[in-house]
């Protein structure tokens, strides 16, 4: 028992301490996010708005309630979704570089968005108005997952290698389709496409949050009970079955969870990269690969990270705004390269 405490408890203890700090970071990021912005609406105004909403000028109320608050919640849920989806995919594929992007979910969502932007006027869905792009992106993500599943699953067995290769092929196909559509796009559409591709939370409204939020939360809720199974899956599919895990059900749930969370996140925020790969990596370095600790910590860290990235994107060129994808790529790209270099030196990430 002594040796047990020596061997396992330290990492558990670190993970729990990390979780404590992540909660602190999340709360701090939330307060920062609510109280910082291009307008001078402050924490004090926020308190006034909470207590006596009538005393606040209309525009301040709009800034707090209709702009910053939904945006804060959106950043949290999108960040958590991207980070947890990354962790789940990496566990599922036993590949620390796997990411929803790799199995083509993001590419599928992107193609859905491109289709909507370019053909939007001609489609019968034009009535969806501002909803058209997000809805089409989510549909693209789902369609991609379903096609992948049909291709890679034989007699109820999903071959991970086939899934990965099919994901690469589908991403290429989706890219080609996007390319054709982009060629057909006019100038206005091209600009929309570029900015959607860079990612932004600028469009976060209550309506979008209420539509996409539950989907992401459902994905996150499905991910939580996968933790034990993902630990077992680290031994390989066969060994996971031998230790008593319902491997097929596990994989199906992991895929659905990722599709829901990533599809909805990509739909409302465009291409926000690196969160799904950097957050789980960093946490594994700090407190080990145990998914029971990794998944909740990834949710917290992803939420904080995106809140801070969004904050930077809002204030750095205020009153204009930088797409958040540029911020996460600027922060995440070098960090990821560092991880890779470090991994090469120390033998495995």
């Amino acid at each position: 028992m002594v040796a047990y405490a020596d061997s396992i408890a330290p990492r558990r203890a670190i993970a729990l301490r990390v979780r404590g700090w992540l909660w602190v970071a999340l709360i701090a990021s939330c307060i920062l996010s609510l109280t910082t912005g291009a307008t001078g609406v402050t924490l004090w105004d926020a308190l006034v708005a909470l207590l006596t909403p009538a005393e606040l000028p209309l525009s301040s109320k709009v800034v707090l309630w209709d702009i910053r608050l939904p945006r804060m919640l959106m950043a949290m849920v999108v960040g958590a979704s991207l980070a947890v989806s990354g962790a789940v995919m990496q566990g599922l594929f036993r590949n620390p570089l796997a990411d929803p992007g790799i199995v083509g979910v993001s590419a599928g969502a992107g193609t859905g968005a491109v289709v909507a932007i370019v053909l939007g006027g001609a489609m019968p869905f034009a009535a969806l108005g501002p909803w058209l792009v997000p809805v089409a992106a989510a549909a693209g993500a789902w369609a991609t997952i379903m096609v992948l599943y049909l291709i890679a699953t034989r007699r109820g067995v999903t071959a991970i290698a086939t899934l990965l290769l099919a994901g690469i092929a589908i991403a290429a196909l989706a890219g080609a389709l996007s390319g054709v559509l982009i060629y057909a796009a006019d100038d206005t559409q091209l600009r929309d496409l570029t900015f959607w591709g860079l990612g932004s939370l600028a469009g976060a409204t209550w309506t979008k949050l209420l539509a996409a939020g539950p989907l992401m939360l459902a994905g996150l809720a499905c991910a939580r009970p996968l933790a034990r199974g993902l630990n077992g899956l680290a031994l390989g599919e066969a060994a996971a079955h031998h230790i008593g895990l319902p491997v097929q059900r596990l994989k199906r749930l992991a895929i659905l969870s990722t599709a829901a969370a990533t599809g909805a996140a990509v739909a409302v925020s465009g291409g926000i990269g690196f969160v799904g790969i950097v957050v789980p990596h960093l946490l594994r370095l700090i407190s080990g690969p145990d998914h029971e600790e990794l998944l909740p910590n990834a949710a917290l860290m992803g939420a904080s990270l995106l809140l801070l990235a969004d904050l930077i994107s809002r204030v750095i060129v205020a009153p204009a705004e930088l797409p958040i994808g540029i911020v996460t790529a600027t922060l995440g790209g070098p960090f990821f390269l560092w991880l890779l270099l470090r991994g090469r030196t120390f033998g495995g990430l």
């Binding site: 031998h242 319902p246 145990d290």
Partner: protein, 262 residues
């Protein structure tokens, strides 16, 4: 009992197992031997429901393909040839995975005891991926032991260790150690089925032997019935002579380059 009845396995157009019928008894060490490509590992993977196959396999009376994974995990543990982990798990964390399903679930933590059994008591904190292949193999054995733990269940039914080349990457000292663990498990009433390359180690520790050739069973039975010059020479396609070491009479096999089949 672990019973396989008329097992066929196809991979693409090739039929790897062509009608294998055999049975393994508890309280025995059974080994599956045969030349490369004879279907030993395929048979093992069919026996663990890892591969789809035609025919029927029952373990303690349960049809293994109709039994949920958690139920099977409680009565048999499987040691793969080798296991590569991509994430930086510690040795203790890997061993503890054995307790996730099966009978160990929710019970007291026996990680340290299991590591003791394989001679790795001080390795709990080390990273699995930093260990040598042989050490990793023993960590996996500890995990497998932890999964079934006692050779006989509370209802008196045997539990099973199914081992795929358990000594392939071990030095001779640890080969003996691992085989002794299997022997002890069988002596206490559990069933052991192992795919082996080393005929001499098999002769030393096994009771029952299945000799495979070309996807079929060439001979099966007691070790001394199978380890016969002409069976081996026919199966392996080379000259082999079986001898006896006095006084305890384990058999040994010597390759005889000059000999040909008579």
């Amino acid at each position: 009992m672990l019973i396989a009845n008329d097992i066929h396995v196809r991979l693409g157009h090739k039929e790897i197992l062509r009608g294998v019928t055999t049975s393994f008894a508890p309280a025995q060490v059974s080994v599956i031997v045969g030349p490369n490509g004879s279907g030993k590992t395929t048979l093992l993977r069919a026996l663990t429901a890892e591969l789809p196959c035609a025919g029927q396999i029952t373990l303690n009376g349960h049809d293994i393909r109709a039994t949920p994974a958690w139920k099977l995990a409680a009565i048999r543990a499987v040691l793969p040839q080798s296991t590569v982990l991509t994430f930086p798990f510690t040795v203790a964390e890997v061993v503890r995975l054995g307790q996730m399903g099966g009978i160990g679930a929710g019970g007291p933590d026996r990680t340290v005891e299991a590591l003791n059994r394989v001679g790795l008591q001080s390795y709990g904190e080390r990273f699995y991926s930093d260990l040598s292949g042989g050490e990793q193999q023993r960590v996996q054995l500890a995990r497998v032991l932890l999964q079934v733990w006692r050779p006989v269940g509370p209802d008196g039914s045997p539990r099973w260790l199914i081992l795929d080349e358990p000594v392939s990457s071990l030095d001779i000292g640890h080969q003996l150690m691992v085989m002794q663990i299997a022997r002890d498990f069988a002596d206490q009433g559990g069933g052991v089925v192992a795919v082996m390359h080393d005929l001499n180690l098999s002769a030393m520790f096994a009771d029952h032997m299945v000799l495979m050739r070309n996807g079929r069973i060439a001979v099966q039975g007691l070790v001394r019935e199978v380890l016969v010059d002409h069976h081996l020479s026919a199966a392996y396609g080379c000259g082999l002579r079986v001898g006896v070491t006095p006084p305890e009479q384990p058999l040994f096999v010597l390759p005889q380059a000059a000999l040909t089949e008579d």
